[in-house]
């Protein structure tokens, strides 16, 4: 028979693994680009904790269930609501030339798209600083 204590440990282990993987391996594209992964891990951990509570209504099983449910709700809200970006109404069209721009780089030199036209392909990255 499966002991409640083992399931509690497993539930906490799954939750901890999700946190460690997401925070420590954010530079791995597969981790960064599948944030639903941590939500799924917390859902699995919550299911395991529920079984632990059903098997033996111990205080530590209840505590684990509450903690894991908070993680599940928090992470789901963050990923599916707070982190969503409304659809951008971009003027960029595949096959078309975007309007030219001139902006300055860190050394104060102007950089424009036109200077690369006919010479070099360009990868343009719009990013928001540290995130």
């Amino acid at each position: 028979m499966i002991r409640s204590g083992w399931l509690v440990a497993l539930s906490l282990l799954v939750s901890a693994a999700a946190i460690v993987i997401y925070t420590q391996f954010l530079h791995v594209a597969a981790v960064r680009n599948n944030p639903e992964g941590y939500v799924a891990a917390f859902a699995i951990a919550a299911t395991i904790a529920s079984i632990a509570v059903a098997l033996g209504r111990r205080w530590y099983a209840w505590t684990t269930l509450v903690v894991v449910l908070v993680l599940l709700l928090g992470s789901a809200t963050f990923n599916f609501v707070l982190a969503r970006i409304p659809e951008a109404h971009t003027t960029l069209r595949v096959g078309e030339q975007p309007p030219d721009f001139t902006l300055t780089d860190a050394d104060g030199r102007p950089v424009s798209l036109a200077e690369y036209r006919g010479k070099k392909p360009v990868v343009l990255v719009f990013y928001r600083g540290y995130w």
């Binding site: 030339q97 928001r128 600083g129």
Partner: protein, 110 residues
Amino acid sequence: MGELQGLGAALSEAEKAGVEIIAVSPDPNVRSHEMAQRLRLAYRFVADSDLAVTRRYGLVHARGGEHGEDVPTPTTVVLDRDGAVRWLWIADNFQVRPDPDDVLQAVRAL
């Protein structure tokens, strides 16, 4: 920052292939420059402080910032030698970035 780190590894290879990588951000240039040096990235960081270009390209995420300010929608665009868009990736979740391998593949396909 993880974004540029991840991208950096693949894109330094792309750079060898003769591609210019231009990173546009409202971040002050100096900060971006420091970041480039720290991560040893071969980017040209340019500042779009008032988001004028980002706005003209329709890539502003209104009030999406930490303090309710407008921020860019994370976007990666591959332009061919003639300046035409060949590949376009726009984020719908601010945690997600294009897979560097996909960007590299788009560059190689030019």
